[in-house]
């Protein structure tokens, strides 16, 4: 009986992962709404055109790199490579913070070329969308903070429970990374 019960349990995906996927779907809707609003508003004319500061492309590279380091950390965790697990996780956190700093530099650069927060909806949208994305990255850094305490304060134990928790962080982090890639491509294609 109990082996049947175990098999029955294993056939299901971890409920927390399901919940996170659903939450990600709702976040996709938030940003989908923003970018749709951007298109609708842009089509109505009176749209200030400007070139996106280069620093945003640097930040794109940084957040892409952070996904790679987090993946290396995760494979290190699974393979029992404690050193790589810890080192790459710190690298991810540093890159994540660097991304936030670079985004801030990007907003400053926007301000300098006259694309201020209130001058035209075209620039307002960039601040609001990238700002809300940065808030999501900060949430990811907070989650990473929990993972860091697991890695550095608790003894290393690659248990199923620990792995599932780590996987939640990984899942969310890759999401905010991909989200930014979508946003930067969107901004490039819809010329602001």
């Amino acid at each position: 009986m109990s082996s049947a019960a175990e098999r029955y349990n294993q056939s299901k995906i971890n409920p927390q992962k399901v919940a996170l996927w659903i939450a990600i779907a709702s976040m996709v809707m938030v940003f989908g709404a923003f970018t749709s609003a951007y298109i609708v508003r842009r089509a109505a004319g009176n749209w200030l055109e400007f070139k996106l500061p280069d620093v945003f492309f640097v930040s794109t590279a940084v957040i892409l790199l952070s996904s790679i380091t987090l993946h290396l950390s995760y494979t290190g965790f699974k393979a029992g490579n404690e050193k790589r697990y810890k080192l790459m996780m710190i690298a991810t956190a540093v890159l994540g913070l660097a991304f936030i700093v670079l985004q801030y530099k990007g907003w400053e650069a926007l301000n300098e070329i006259g694309a201020t927060f209130t001058v035209n909806p075209s620039s307002s949208f960039i601040y609001v969308i990238s700002g809300l994305h940065a808030a999501h990255v900060l949430g990811g850094i907070a989650a990473l903070g929990v993972a860091l305490t697991h890695a550095f304060i608790l003894p290393y134990k690659p248990t199923l429970r620990r792995r599932q928790r780590f996987e939640l962080v990984v899942q969310y982090w890759h999401f905010v990374d991909l989200l930014w890639v979508y946003l930067i491509i969107f901004f490039m294609l819809n010329g602001s």
Binding site: I22, M29, V30, A33, R41, T118, V128
Partner: protein, 618 residues
């Protein structure tokens, strides 16, 4: 009779022991530490049954407030000359008393009442109070789960809703009054703090309240979906789920996908209000001053708002549909007619919900060619809706129908849904909308099809599951008075509005359009509507009295399964503790609608299929 019941219960115990699924829940005793005192048991509970009842009680509180508001503005509309000074103790300075001692409702406050009536009823009562209540109580019980996937987030969902209510309630006491720009919060009235009295602090509090409410809806929705997908008991395949669960599941999906869009829209609104952006504001003159904002589009807000707003009406009506399907089937003692078609039609309605939003905007300047697209998809919704109506009628047709308060409200729901749905076909046409938009025809349509209908679904659910929630029955006589009075009264309120609306009487006017010569002759009709509204209001007070009286002194439930229903919630003890089942979780052997089959009146879901018997769920 009593012996038969005992036999059935021993059979149930035997089957649960034999086939039940042992999840070792009670070996850990983690259920009890949360319920150690009054506060943790009844207030800060993480038990889904308590949280569901919290949603219900809070919903009833808000329904009372919202309905009382409608009575105040109906008095104004029906009896514009009457003295309202007697309301001064409650409404204070919003009743202006002239030197002759005649009290008049402040016009600005009239708009606040209309605005808050809409906000409260749509969000607090028919979203949180309906799907919040029944998703919480029924999802774990009917799918055979110990609790929600995340009981803690579930409790947060309630408390965010509670806080949203507190913020909105406090806005009633602002010296400038609550928000008054309509529940849709269109800019510029919502975007410019100086636009009207309620647009300042009142609107700020409205936005904060909505933001909290959206968080509540998202936390709840994520939980409901995860629970349905992950925590179904052994044997409970998707196609064996009761239609209630299908309805709550689809409702939650709609909420999780549409509320975030409102959040985006409201966020941009906040930036327009306080940071000086112009997403929604274009060149506007307010109080003789030209604003510096340029280039915004108020239509943009309408798009974002109605992308939530339309799915929202299905978030309201789908749970009612699920509840009514279950209640009608149980009380007809017949399987639901066309179970699969019921599920697919709900999925179709859920899908179409996302591609019809602009039918709320036909007259606000959207491209007429784009309107064509929205007209077609809007009218297509009539197809799955008609399938559902046909199936409900098919379910009760030729049945040995039990006339209980619950089943009567189920039938009342079908009646309201047909009446209100038919006028939806009028309004879905962009050409007819030129005459009908913003008239009482619209008011009549949406009040019948989603207001009254959803309330009837909710009442059906409350009367039906009251024994499960409180271990007692509600008073049937009062329930039937409540039903017949409300059925007749609700039609008396909204039927005449179709006539005034067709004639073009605009909605939301303080004087019901009496400044126009051509609308003056509707004065008597307006009086009639107001009297009917007061009559219906007191019937709902009767319901509330019955509800609370029955909690403490209603007839006690003596058997686990008083209605003879098949679903799993009736296999739990009458007063189910944390974890719902004291021992093993029953496993599911068949679909939930085996009524009047194989010579038996009903065959619960835990009873194994006989040799050669085909399961109706697939």
């Amino acid at each position: 009779m009593a012996q038969v019941v005992t036999a059935a219960e021993t059979l149930e115990d035997k089957l649960t022991e034999e086939l039940g699924y042992n999840d070792h829940f009670h070996e850990h005793h983690h259920g009890d530490k949360y319920q150690s005192n009054f506060l943790t048991t009844y207030i800060f509970s993480t038990d889904h049954k308590i949280i569901g009842r919290q949603f219900l009680m809070t919903g009833i509180f808000w329904a009372f407030i919202g309905a009382a508001m409608s009575i105040v503005f109906r008095l104004q509309l029906g009896f514009p000359e009457a003295d309202m000074a007697w309301l001064r103790p409650i409404l204070g300075k919003w009743i202006q008393v002239d030197p002759n001692g005649i009290g008049k409702l402040d016009p600005e406050f009239y708009y606040s009442l209309v605005t808050l009536h809409g906000t409260i009823l749509v969000f607090f009562v028919l979203t949180a109070g309906l799907s919040g209540t029944f998703s919480n109580i029924l999802i774990p019980l009917q799918i055979g789960a110990r609790d929600m996937a995340s009981p803690l987030l579930n409790a947060f969902s309630y408390w965010f809703f509670f806080l949203a209510g507190v913020v909105l309630f406090l806005s009633l006491f602002l010296s400038t009054g609550p928000f008054s720009g309509g529940w849709t919060a269109y800019p510029p009235l919502s975007a410019l703090p100086q636009a009207s009295e309620g647009s300042g602090a009142g609107m700020t509090m409205w936005i904060v309240s909505m933001a909290l409410f959206i968080v509540s809806a998202l936390l709840g929705g994520i939980n409901y979906i995860t629970t349905v997908l992950n925590l179904r008991t052994k044997g409970m395949t998707l196609w064996r789920m009761p239609l209630t669960i299908w309805a709550f599941f689809i409702t939650a999906v709609l909420g999780v996908l549409s509320f975030p869009v409102l959040l985006s829209g409201v966020l941009l609104l906040m930036f327009d209000r306080s940071m000086g952006t112009s997403f929604y504001l274009s060149e506007i003159v307010v109080g003789g001053q030209v604003l510096e904002r340029i280039g915004g589009s108020p239509i943009l807000f309408q798009h974002l708002f109605w992308f939530l707003g339309h799915p929202e009406v299905y978030i309201i009506i789908l749970p009612a549909m699920g509840i009514v399907s279950e209640v009608l089937s149980v009380h007809s003692r017949k399987p639901i007619f066309g179970y699969t078609a019921m599920v697919y039609s709900m999925l179709a309605i859920g899908f179409l919900a996302f591609i019809v939003w602009a039918h709320h905007m036909f007259m606000s300047g959207v491209n007429p060619f784009i309107s064509n697209f929205f007209v077609i998809f809007t009218l297509i919704i009539a197809v799955p809706s008609a399938v559902k109506v046909f199936n409900w009628i098919g379910t009760i047709y030729g049945s040995n129908f039990r006339f209980t308060s619950a089943s009567l409200f189920g039938v009342g729901f079908v009646s309201m849904f047909i009446s209100g749905g038919l006028t939806g076909i009028f309004l879905g046409n962009s050409a007819i909308d030129i005459q009908m938009h913003d008239t009482y025809f619209v008011v009549a349509h949406f009040h019948i099809v989603m207001g009254i209908a959803a309330f009837f679904g909710m009442f059906a659910g409350v009367y039906h599951w009251f024994p499960k929630m409180f271990g007692r029955f509600m008073n049937e006589t009062l329930g039937k008075i409540h039903f017949w009075g409300t059925l007749v009264g609700a039609y008396a309120i909204f039927w005449p509005m179709h006539y005034t609306g067709l004639a073009g009487v605009p909605r939301r006017y303080y004087d019901a359009g009496a400044t126009f010569e051509s609308f003056r002759h509707f004065g008597d009709l307006n009086k009639f509507i107001t009297v009917a509204a007061i009559f219906v209001f007191f019937l709902q007070v009767l319901f509330i009295i019955n509800f609370f009286y029955s909690i403490f002194s209603g007839r006690k439930v003596t058997v686990k399964n008083p209605w003879g229903a098949n679903t799993l919630e009736w296999t739990t003890p009458i007063e189910a503790g944390h974890g719902n089942w004291p021992g093993r979780i029953p496993t599911v052997q068949r679909w939930s609608y085996d009524y009047s089959k194989n010579g038996e009146e009903f065959i619960p879901q835990y009873v194994p299929l006989k040799e050669g018997e085909r399961d109706m769920g697939h």
